[in-house]
């Protein structure tokens, strides 16, 4: 039998096959118990001695060719779910990946708030933590011997007179307004210090974000608009807000800003002290005396300023009940954010 002719026939046949059934028929025809290969093999013993080896090899090659053609065809017919794809195995085993670290929750909140104001056109500026008494107090219209300073108990430096650790981020207002001419739209994140005994609600070191805007025609209603956008961006669109008159030496009129309690939605719970409102920031129109200190014409320009505590926002946002957790740096805490 002409092996070459058979081989050519096989090549032709395999082209025609387009179903698994047809492939099985093909396999039986050539490789089945009574198939062509079996027939050829059984013919070997009848061949002359000198031809047996060569013929045997040719039959073997033919058999291998058939096996590989069938396998190949099977793959094509079976599509992607063919034998070659690896089984998923036990997916209960831990996944393999690089583990990411994470930013501190206070950084995440700071970044989020800065980004919101950045999108509204505010620049982000920072200032030194060691400040002069002037920038921290006097320039902000806080008289040195006045009860209004009580809220700003301050760490002073020992060997440097009238130098202190800033008790709020507001001194950066003074610096920026001296350095730059209006229009100004700036937010200032940073660390601040006050000699408070440490407990679940107090820390001698904490973080604030200060924001201010100075231009001609800036109004109290603008302050309301900007802060409303901010609160909705951080706490959601259904949050309610209220502005209450308050006193800050560096703003007039001044306002404290509350949002409807994010826990009880204003019904009253232990987080908001049954009030339904949470105080989140202090704000107001920049006091003309502050403008006077920095050399901005208070008849021409007006501005607003606001300040908020990052820890406070983070505690509300994440439901954290102890401010000390932020500075203990327990990885079991940090990894939750």
């Amino acid at each position: 039998m002409d092996i070459k002719a058979v081989s050519a026939q096989i090549d032709a046949d395999i082209q025609e096959i387009n179903s698994l059934e047809a492939l099985e028929q093909f396999r039986l025809k050539y490789l089945g118990r009574k198939g062509l290969v079996a027939e050829l093999t059984s013919a070997i013993p009848g061949l002359p001695q000198e031809e047996r080896a060569r013929f045997g090899q040719e039959v073997n090659a033919l058999k291998n060719k058939l096996l590989s053609l069938i396998a190949e065809k099977q793959k094509t017919l079976a599509g992607s779910s063919g034998q070659a794809a690896q089984a998923a195995g036990d997916l209960g085993m831990p996944g393999i990946s690089q583990s990411l670290g994470q930013l501190h929750p206070l950084t995440q909140v700071t970044d989020e708030i800065c980004a919101i104001f950045n999108r509204m056109g505010f620049s982000i500026v920072e200032g030194p933590e060691i400040e002069s008494e002037y920038n921290n107090f006097t320039g902000l219209n806080i008289p040195l011997e006045h009860p209004s300073r009580e809220a700003f108990d301050t760490f002073y430096l020992k060997n440097y007179t009238k130098m202190l650790l800033r008790s709020h981020t507001s001194p950066v207002q003074v610096r920026q307004m001296k350095e730059q001419k209006p229009p100004l739209a700036i937010v200032v994140p940073g660390r601040v210090y006050r000699p408070d005994a440490v407990d679940a609600a107090h820390s001698f070191m904490f973080h604030q974000i200060e924001g201010f805007m100075v231009d001609t025609g800036i109004k109290f209603s603008d302050l309301k608009g900007i802060l409303e956008m901010f609160a909705q961006a951080v706490f959601g669109n259904d949050i309610k807000m209220r502005f209450r008159p308050h006193f800050f030496p560096f703003t007039e009129p001044s306002a404290e800003v509350d949002i409807s309690c994010i826990i009880c939605k204003g019904k009253g719970c232990s987080v908001c002290g049954r009030k339904g409102w949470l105080e989140i920031l202090g704000s107001g129109m920049i006091h003309p005396n502050v403008f006077k200190h920095v050399g901005i014409d208070a008849d021409k320009y007006t501005g607003f300023a606001f300040g908020l505590g990052i820890e406070r926002i983070a505690m509300l946002k994440y439901g954290i009940n102890d401010i000390r957790l932020f500075f203990e740096n327990d990885l079991r805490f940090l990894r939750q954010f």
Binding site: I96, L100, G101, Q102, L106, T107, D111, G121, F122, S123, E126, E129, I130, E145, P147, S148, A151, F155, L157, K158, N159, Y160, M163, A185, R191, P195, A197, F204, M205, M213, D215, G217, I218, K219, F220, S221, D222, K224, G225, I226, E228, R244, P245, H246, F247, P249, E252, P253, A255, M285, P288, N289, T302, F326, E328, N329, D330, L331, R332, R335
Partner: protein, 672 residues
């Protein structure tokens, strides 16, 4: 401060329930922090801001209620006394700056005893303990008007004269709370001819206290300088209802009236045979007025309030209004409103009474400045890289104690900036390094059974050479063993110097910093860029680990000055064309005697291999059975390429052989 609903009603007709009143007060800036129904009345606890001492009285709050509920304040002036005799008491004020006004009313023939029921009840409602009728009446008048009063037992005083003066050095007094107080020149006292009998504006003395036996009293009503009272209070650590009000400013205009009101109550409830009155100092303060442009008010607030409403609100608050021109009002400021100095102060009053909630919401046109904040961008780029590398950010305290700094060996050589008034030892100094704080965080986490700690912090360190300086610094701490569960099973990576180096390399590569060196100094290595020291890598000493209570682990730390590396960053990227022709990679494996630096080998090969050698990397490293002691095995991968053609094997052969020969010649390596 506490007031009651019924007490307020004596001054103004309130037609709204207590709850609604509390809400309205809160929204007008008198934050009602609690409202409690008690004994047929309601007690409102109000947080009063420090600029409004006039609100530290029932009268002041009632005036506010009148304005926000649009009603009139009921005048409750006591009838002036006719035929008041001037006593023969002399009042001397040593310095009129310390005491603006001092009045003394001598009341004779009184009978001290318990207060009437209504008075006791009302005082108790607002948290004031009843003592006796005289003391209770002075307290009542104080709470009602905001003007502190003090009653002395006249018979225990030298009646000749009252002196308001600074205490003498070494002078002593026992105050009403039974405490002996040592006085000095900063303390203002009320004295008779012989001795101090009270600390002015703060507390009376025990010796002249009104008791059940008291027959005659001297009733003091005065105004002291807020700063003097503040200093006394701070120096003596003694606060009272009186000092609280004096520090914030007491209305000069209420002094006589309050004294009179108390005298009349005393006459009514304690009998009185005779009253005499003396005073010294200013009787009244100067009248002031502030101009208000109502158009300006509309500009600042973003809402126009009708002129009639403006006038009505201000006059209910006690201001005297005169129309000067269209939109221009001349607003007379009453003596109890020392806080009102500028037009904006009046604008705030309008906004408060109009209601902040009724001011509309608008958005300003922001003119953004787009100058980027380079330092902040650098910080956030580094933080992102580190988070990507699996490190957790921590925030540790900037203040620390000297002992920790010294015991960890970091106080040496640097004089940290000291805090003048720390509350505790942990706040003694500003840290000159991030390392102790990171060390403590590592220790805490090992105590919490962590196997591996990889943390970083970016914050200021503080150095004080000539003037205090802040340096923005990155601190990293690595310690313990990191486990990876891979297909082939558990793989462990113990933290070490090379992990730190890897982090530094990644950061510097991302920031475009090149040309840096690591100078090995044993258990630490300096990081230098163009010969400037920018940071340090180190392994904590056994003593430090011991102090931090870290056992059986090494801790590797890095400190890098971000202020210093900022100028070396190059974040503008430039495209290098991809190679056009394939190259050939050839490995060299050899063993190297310990003591030779791999860095030197790489430098030599790069030099020698030019121009065909385009890259050489260390691709394997081993020590073990096949390697003799004192040697290490290394495999380098050399990559040859050209920009002009595809290289043939025989072209690179001479170079490659030269490299191998040089390695043998210069470093004595044994090729494998």
């Amino acid at each position: 401060m506490k007031v009651t609903y019924n007490w307020l009603k004596e001054f103004v007709d309130i037609k709204i329930p207590a709850k609604e009143l509390a809400d309205k007060l809160t929204m007008a800036g008198l934050e009602v922090v609690s409202l409690e129904e008690k004994a047929g009345d309601f007690v409102l606890e109000i947080e009063i801001t420090s600029n409004r001492p006039d609100w530290l009285s029932v009268l002041g709050v009632a005036r506010e209620v009148a304005a926000i509920t649009r009603r009139e304040l009921k005048a409750k002036n006591p009838k002036p006394e006719t035929k008041i005799a001037k006593g023969n008491l002399r009042i001397e004020i040593e310095n009129k700056k310390d005491c603006f006004l001092y009045t003394a009313r001598i009341i004779r023939g009184i009978k001290v005893g318990p207060s009437p029921e209504w008075l006791r009840k009302r005082l108790e409602l607002v948290g004031c303990r009843s003592v006796n009728n005289i003391v209770d009446i002075t307290n009542y008048a104080l709470l009602e008007s905001g003007e502190p009063l003090h009653a002395f037992d006249l018979d225990k005083l030298n009646p000749e004269k009252i002196v308001v003066r600074r205490a003498k050095a070494g002078e002593k007094i026992i105050t009403l709370d039974g405490q002996a107080r040592n006085l000095n020149n900063n303390v203002l006292v009320i004295a008779d001819k012989a001795k101090a009998v009270a600390i002015a504006g703060v507390m009376g003395g025990q010796e002249t206290e009104v008791t059940l036996d008291t027959r005659n009293i001297l009733l003091e009503a005065a105004v002291f300088d807020p700063i003097v009272v503040r200093r006394c209070r701070q120096a003596l650590g003694l606060q009272s209802e009186s000092s609280y009000r004096f520090e914030r400013g007491v209305d000069l205009g209420m002094v006589e009236q309050t004294s009179l009101r108390a005298a009349q109550l005393i006459r009514e409830y304690c009998f009185t045979q005779g009253v005499f009155f003396n005073s010294s100092g200013l009787a009244k303060c100067k009248e002031r007025s502030v101009k208000l442009d109502t158009a300006r008010a509309a500009e600042v607030l973003g809402v126009t309030i009708a002129p009639a409403k403006i006038k009505q609100a201000l006059s209910r608050l006690g201001f005297a209004i005169k129309q000067k021109a269209k939109n221009i009002l001349d607003v007379g400021v009453p003596s109890f409103r020392q806080d009102v100095k500028l037009e904006v102060d009046l604008i705030e009053e309008l906004a408060r009474i109009f209601g902040y909630e009724r001011i509309p919401v608008s958005l300003p046109a922001v003119k953004p400045q787009v100058t980027a904040n380079a330092k902040r961008a650098l910080t956030s780029a580094i933080k992102e890289i580190l988070v990507g590398l699996g490190l957790s950010e921590v925030i540790t305290y900037s203040l620390t104690d000297k002992l920790t700094l010294n015991s960890l060996g970091f106080g040496l050589g640097v004089q940290p900036i000291e805090i003048l008034n720390p509350l505790s030892q942990e706040q003694e100094v500003l840290r000159p390094t991030l390392i102790p704080g990171l060390g403590r965080a590592v220790s805490l986490n090992f105590n919490q059974k962590q196997e591996y700690v990889a943390i970083f912090e970016v914050s200021n360190i503080f150095l004080g050479e000539n003037k205090p300086q802040e340096e923005l610094t990155l601190g990293i701490a690595l310690s313990g063993t990191k486990s990876f569960l891979l297909e082939q099973g558990l793989v462990k990576d113990e933290a070490g110097f090379l992990n730190l180096k890897g982090i530094v390399e990644t950061i510097f590569a991302r920031l475009g910093i090149s040309g840096y060196t690591l100078n090995n100094q044993g258990s630490s290595a300096e990081i230098r860029i163009q010969n400037e020291k920018v940071g340090l890598m180190l392994s904590l000493s056994p003593q430090s680990l011991n102090k931090l209570n870290i056992k059986n682990k090494n801790v590797f730390m890095l400190e890098l000055s971000l202020d210093k590396i900022l100028s070396f960053t190059r974040r503008d990227k430039k495209f290098i064309p991809l190679p056009r022709y394939p190259g050939i990679a050839r490995d060299i494996s050899f063993i190297l005697k310990e003591g030779f630096s791999v860095q030197a080998i790489l430098v030599l090969l790069k030099e020698t291999g030019r121009p065909l050698l385009s890259e050489v990397r260390i691709t394997d490293y081993y020590k073990g059975r096949q390697i003799p002691v004192g040697y290490r095995g290394l495999t380098l991968s050399c990559f040859y390429s050209s920009n002009e053609r595809t290289l043939a094997e025989n072209e690179i052969q001479p170079t490659h052989e030269l490299l191998c020969a040089e390695l043998v010649r210069k470093f004595g390596v044994k090729l494998r």
